[in-house]
């Protein structure tokens, strides 16, 4: 079952460069929400040794020295370009699994195995010419190997011109290649597993590939066992065309400035609960409970630390913003302690299930439920038409003024070049 993993190169940075060619050849990082950590790095920045997820405040010095350009993340832009890339790639196979914002699997079953590498080159050319984003293609018999092939294509370890087809490599070549790659590069092998594997003298991809399956399964899990099988050409993971419905919806963010009072925290919690409820209705789901989390800034080690979460069950599953906000606020009230400066709050909707076909409880009033459904439909329709947060639950605060202290910090966000008529690129 040959398949391809197509992955955009430094995707967020590539998006920024497309509309701002001045960034070409310069060291660029894109920072996470609130300008917290590096979530995308240009090759120039990678060469400076800056790691993924490194907090921005910890790289100020090196940034100044090397004139690193830091940008706030611009998800409107990345989302639009991602949809274009995925649409172009969908023409190359009848089966596509969009795995993340910048990568997808394509089923290549039935294609002539001799031509797959050329086919990969056509994908690369098409995406580059139509959307302008550079991608790399990894081709192999399993998802785990395709991920690895993509890694090799990107690093230039194997294949050529950004395409690597393991099907064209001999067993001898693969062994040599895998013996030179750290086990941490394998899909699904995180830091903890890597450390444990290292203690067992499993250091490279080849070590893991030739490890005893029974031993891995007993020492770790069935999941890592599957990884070993996949490294040995045994497909265990199928291409999933339809995304499985979300099991939980999480909205959380750090504040631009530290927040002390319950009323300000309440605003942020209400705002996040509203946003989560919107996502819930988009999915056509209802939630059975809502979890509220608050914590202080763990990087300020000298300040008193506090962290609490609480799950608030709902009397019956709902997608009603006002009920979810009320539940979240009651949870917040229960866990709030004064005297701390809070850095982050979050809400998570749990126990999600499809909205239709719910068993009504004895106390549900169908007429009232219909009214709520109408109200939510109107709320969503107005916000879709008039812009985000045009109409919102009063508890989440006014759009200007009060909210500013906890609102997200996005100091250097580029324009929404492709999704806002007022922010289009300009040509002189």
């Amino acid at each position: 079952m040959p398949l391809a993993l197509v992955d955009c190169n430094n995707f967020y940075v590539s998006c920024e460069r497309m509309f701002n060619p001045k960034l070409e050849g310069k060291p660029v990082v894109v920072l996470s929400n609130n300008d917290g950590c590096a979530v995308a790095r240009s090759n120039e920045v990678k060469a400076l040794g800056i790691k993924m997820g490194q907090p921005w405040f910890k790289m100020q010095e090196i940034a100044k020295r090397h004139h690193i350009i830091a940008l706030s993340s611009n998800y409107a832009l990345y989302g639009d370009l991602s949809a274009r890339v995925m649409s172009v790639l969908s023409d190359f196979s009848p089966r596509q699994e969009i795995y993340s914002i910048d990568e997808c699997f394509l089923d290549l079953q039935g294609f002539d195995p001799q031509t797959l590498a050329d086919y990969g080159q056509s994908m690369r050319r098409a995406v580059k010419q139509q959307v302008g984003i550079p991608v790399c293609v990894g081709i192999a018999s399993t998802k785990t190997l395709a991920k690895l092939a993509n890694h090799c294509a990107k690093k230039g370890y194997a294949g050529s011109d950004g395409v690597c087809d393991f099907g064209r490599c001999s067993e001898h070549e693969l062994k040599r290649l895998f013996a030179g790659i750290q086990v941490a590069e394998v899909w699904g092998v995180g830091q903890k597993i890597t450390e444990k594997l290292q203690r067992m003298k499993i250091l490279t991809v080849q070590d893991l590939r030739s490890a005893s399956l029974a031993r891995i399964q007993s020492q770790f899990s069935v999941v890592l066992g599957r990884t070993v099988q996949e490294l040995n050409d045994v497909p265990c993971l199928a291409i999933e065309e339809v995304a499985t419905p979300r099991q939980q919806i999480m909205v959380s963010r750090s504040f631009g400035a530290c927040v002390l009072t319950l009323s300000e925290l309440s605003e942020s919690v209400a705002h996040f609960a509203t946003r989560a409820a919107e996502k819930l209705r988009q999915d056509g789901s209802v939630a059975a409970s809502i979890c509220v989390t608050i914590h202080t800034n763990p990087f300020r080690e000298k300040e008193p630390q506090y962290q609490r979460s609480l799950v608030v069950p709902l009397s019956s599953p709902t997608d009603d913003s006002s009920r979810l906000v009320a539940a979240a606020l009651s949870g917040l009230k229960a866990i709030y302690r004064s005297g701390f400066s809070y850095k982050k709050t979050g809400v998570m909707l749990m126990g999600l299930q499809p909205g239709g076909g719910m068993q009504p409880t004895l106390f549900d009033d169908p007429a009232c439920q219909a009214k709520v459904a109408d109200r939510m439909r109107v709320l969503d329709a107005i916000n879709r038409k008039m812009g985000k947060d045009c109409l919102t639950i009063a508890a989440s605060g006014a759009k200007s003024g009060v909210r500013q202290r906890w609102a997200m910090r996005r100091q250097s966000k580029s324009p929404a070049y492709t999704t806002d008529w007022n922010e289009l690129p300009v040509a002189g």
Binding site: Q130, P425, V426, A427
Partner: protein, 142 residues
């Protein structure tokens, strides 16, 4: 014809919303029914390659000879191969610029459509980066 549409109004409050959609056309069927072909779409007219099409705002007067004025909306297709004579978006010193692409005697140039502006010549070895081909310009009067 439309005033003959009727709404069925059920008696109980609880059922009201579920049956609202049922409209019964009691009049003569529209003679145009067989000829309905859908509305014309400007997207369809202006956009050949959806994934490759971007909008760019024109600035300044360098292209007024080609009918492109300050503030006009340019429809740009990135997937087209630029040919001599096309109006293109090019990258010059890191900025986007709209000009006419020309090739004369093996030399490419970016030609403004306004005598007050100068033509940019690209000799062999000099890189000319074309960002996309302008396929249409849109002006709004109101």
């Amino acid at each position: 014809m439309f005033h003959s549409l009727q709404r069925f109004r059920p008696a109980t409050v609880l059922q009201r919303f579920t049956l609202y959609g049922h409209k019964v056309a009691a009049g003569f069927p529209s003679p145009a029914d067989d000829y309905i072909e859908g509305r014309l779409s400007l997207d369809e007219h202006l956009i050949q390659h959806r994934n490759a099409t971007f909008f760019v705002r024109a600035k300044g007067n360098s292209m007024i000879g080609a009918g492109i004025h300050d503030g006009d909306l340019l429809v740009v297709d990135k997937s087209l191969n630029p040919a001599s004579g096309d109006i293109v978006i090019a990258v010059v010193d890191g900025d986007l610029t709209v000009k006419r692409l020309q090739k004369r005697g093996g030399i490419y140039s970016l030609k403004p459509e306004n005598p007050l502006f100068e033509e940019m010549l690209f000799k062999e070895g000099q890189e000319l980066q074309v960002w996309g081909v302008v396929t249409a310009t849109i002006k709004k009067f109101i």
